[in-house]
Every structure is written in structure tokens, then in C-alpha cells.
């Protein structure tokens, strides 16, 4: 068993508010929160996310199809928060 497996780093679980804790393979990553400031082009292209708190949209494609807002620590791989409330419109970069 490699170091990564011992640390438990390989298996990523996401707690879907509807289906419960499921393997991340059931979920499809959709988008990262873009830079919320600036012009339309800047909102489209730029990223200013904190690597320790990356806010993303995922969809439970292998389950209930729900779109979820995940807050993840990219450096550890930990899922910090899962919410079925999409508080931000990632396409527009605006808060609801």
C-alpha cells in the first residue's frame, strides 16, 4: 500500500444533502467560482480563489442530479462544506 492510500487521500467522499455520503466518482465537477470583480472578460477568465477555500459547483450525475455548491481545500483535498443552496451564480460571478 502506497503512502497516499495510507493517508486515505485517494478516496474522496461527498455528502450529498439528498443522497448522503457518496463516492466522488458519482459527482461531476462543473465550475470554479471566478474572479467576482472587474469586467465581463475578467469574470469569464480570471480566478482569484483561495486554494484553501475553493468554491465550486458540482452535480450529482450518478445520483439525484442535484447541483451542489462545494467548498474544498485544494491543498488537502478535504471537502469543507456542501450545500444544495447555490449562493453564487458562477456564470455571472454574482451573489444571489
Amino acid at each position: 500500500m502506497s503512502d497516499g492510500a495510507k493517508r486515505g487521500g485517494r478516496r474522496m467522499l461527498i455528502r450529498c444533502p439528498f443522497c448522503g455520503e457518496r463516492d466522488a466518482a458519482e459527482f461531476q465537477f462543473r465550475a470554479t467560482l471566478p474572479d467576482l470583480q472587474g469586467t465581463a472578460a475578467e469574470r469569464l477568465y480570471l480566478r482569484r480563489s483561495d486554494p484553501h477555500r475553493s468554491i465550486e459547483h458540482w452535480q450529482h450525475v450518478g445520483g439525484c442530479q442535484l447541483w451542489l455548491e462545494l467548498t474544498r481545500d485544494l491543498t488537502s483535498g478535504a471537502v469543507l462544506e456542501v450545500s444544495a443552496e447555490l449562493t453564487r451564480d458562477l456564470a455571472r460571478g454574482a451573489e444571489h
Partner: protein
Amino acid sequence: MRRRFSALRLLLDAARPASFEPLWPRRPPSGPYDVIIVGGGGHGLATAYYLAREFGLRRVAVLERTLIGYGNVGRNTTIVRSNYLLPQNQRFYEDSLRRWGTLARELNFNIMYSPRGVLDLAVADEDMVALRRRGNAMRLSGIDAELLDRAGVARFVPQLDVAAPRQFPIVGGLLQRRGGTVRHDAVAWGYARAAAALGVDIVERCEVLGLARRAGRIAGVESDRGFIAGERVALAVAGRTASLAARLGLALPLETHLLQACVTEPIKPMLDTVLIYMYPGAGEVYVSQSDRGGLVFGGMLDGHPSMTQTGAVTRVRDVCRALTALLPRTSDLRLLRHWAGMNDMTMDGSPIIDKLGSEELFLNGGWCYGGFKAIPASGRAFAELIARGETPELIRPFRLSRFLSGHVLDEKGAGPFPARQ
């Protein structure tokens, strides 16, 4: 002094093993420098080498957070090629491929460039249309490309049973004969050794924490080994670009994603070329055999941002499925190792090489999953940008401003997404 390597040298050193010496001296950072390069990977080391060699800047430091060869330069599948569709990419990667051909002699270090051919396989007539288009575009730019039909593939890769019944039959392929592989560690070591011989300080285990400014100008960097003075600061940190940008307060058009690579146990020679195969349902696989005998292969990104260097096992399964579909006899092999590297995925799939604003701050990053083959061209052009302050023609398409002006360089035509596959 640096000793010249030769067959005689090897023989003499083999007779007296104690005579082997470190390839470059370990020196502590000692400013002030003309240029501080952050990141001791392939691109950073190559940049330092060309700065010293071609532009006469000798007061150059390369600061590496870990050890030389620990990052993506030692984590890739070692493929080099210039089989791109867009003319801007063709020019750049062709410049790089030509440099690979002469680099071993130039560095006096055996980088083991092996032009064994890179063959993109087609599994449907639509694939052949796309490959024919790309091949014709390459030939218009003076780059070698050969479109092979099924019999042509069978002749070039006799090991591949093209007649076997498959769910997705092999119908042809696009071959670039000058493409192939290069020994990745040797590239890092060769550039580091050559740069150090020209007076470059290569400082390992030195993490840059931020920029140092005096009177509104760049004065160097703050590191975990204290302040290091330098007139110009050049960032070449590949997979760490996003986290370093966050630390420096920069917003860049990129995200960090993981790409995994695998190697099997060593076996006798079975594959003397590089095969790239898109297997519907399991994704892509690209495979070559190393000189040690292991099959080195990789596939697609893990599919979501991550900086863990620990990949998802589901992706390993996918890429193994694609490999065994392509070469069924590999299903008996055991996987020796698999590992993940961090990829700085830009919004158009092309790199960023630019001066950032009016300050003496330079960025080389956004290499996505294609940075290794670009090292010689990237290092040479980045060095010219840093030394002269003007963007060389070769890398003008890679300026950061392209995103905001609409001149994106989107090889796949995939739209404004990082890692869209």
C-alpha cells in the same frame, strides 16, 4: 570546474566510483542578483541557462522549494512532439523540437532524445478527418506529418493487431516521425549542471514567500531563508502557479488540476514508438516504453481542481482500461507505480509567458499538461524576454493580455474552460 562527459570519462569514472562528483555545487543564496528565477523545474533551469549562455547575465539564481527534479519535470510521460493545429503553437513547439535534437551535444549531457515517432490513432472516420486536417496544417508549416491508413499503422507498429475485432477498430493514424521521448530527469540535471557551470546559483530547499519591494520597485524576494535581493523576478513554477499567484495577490486565468501517469513493471522491448489512443468511454491513453522496460502511460486529467498530488484511483482504472483495449497483452502486467502532478490549466489550453505590468516581474506558466516538451523553446524565449524586456516574436501569442483582448489560443476549440476534455 565542470568536467566534460565522454565515453572515456565514463570508463575512467567507472573504474574509480569514488571519483563521481555532484553535477552542480550547492551554494547558499547570495544576492544581489540580476535575475531571480522562482522554480527549479525544467523551465526555470532552462531559462537560467539561456540567460547566462546567450544573454550574458551571470548573476542569476534559481530558487527551488524542494529539490531539483521533484516537480513536474520528473513527473511527466516524457513525450516531445510538435503536431499542433494552430500556426502559433506549431512555430513554438517546432522550435522546441529542433532544440531537443541538438540539446545533448549543447549541454554535454545525455538527455536521451529518442525520435521514435508519435502516432495518433483514429478509431472512426471522423477521427481521420480531424487528423488529416491537423496533418495538412502541419505540412503547410513545414512540419513533418504522415497520414497512415490501417495498413500503414500495421506496418509502422507491427505489435499492434489492427485486424483484431475491437469495439472501436483502428482505422488509421497521424504520424510525426521526429516526435518521441526524452529522459526527463536528465533534462533537469543537464540544464542545472550547464547553468551552474556558467555561474548560476541553484538553491534547493528555498521557498519564496513573497515579493520584496523597495520604494515601489521590485527589490527581490522574501524567502524562508530570508530576503534575497534581485533586480528582476521571474516566476516559473508550473503547477504551483495558482497557489503562488494567490500568495502574491494576482488573478490569473488558470486553475490547478491533477494529471496522473503510470508505469508498469519492466518487460522486454514490445513498443518502439509513442501511441496515442482515444478510447470512447474510458478516455485517452498515451503510451511509450522506457529504456528500463516499463510501459509509461497516462490519460486525462482527474476532472476537478486539486493541489494534492494524489490522484483518484478511478482515473487509473480508466487509463488502464484504455491501454488494455489498445494492447490486450498488457492486461497481464502489474502496475509498478502511479503518481499525480499538478497542472496549471489555462482557460484556452495555451501557456502564458509575459512581463506582468510595469514592474520587473515576469511569468512563465499555464503549461497545462504540455510543459515538458516546451522546455528548450520556453527557456530560450523567456530568457530573451527577461534580458531584453521585449517579447520575442515566438511567444507573442502567449501574452497574458490575449484573454482580455479576445485573442485566445484555443487549440481544441473548447471555449473558456480550464481542463475541458
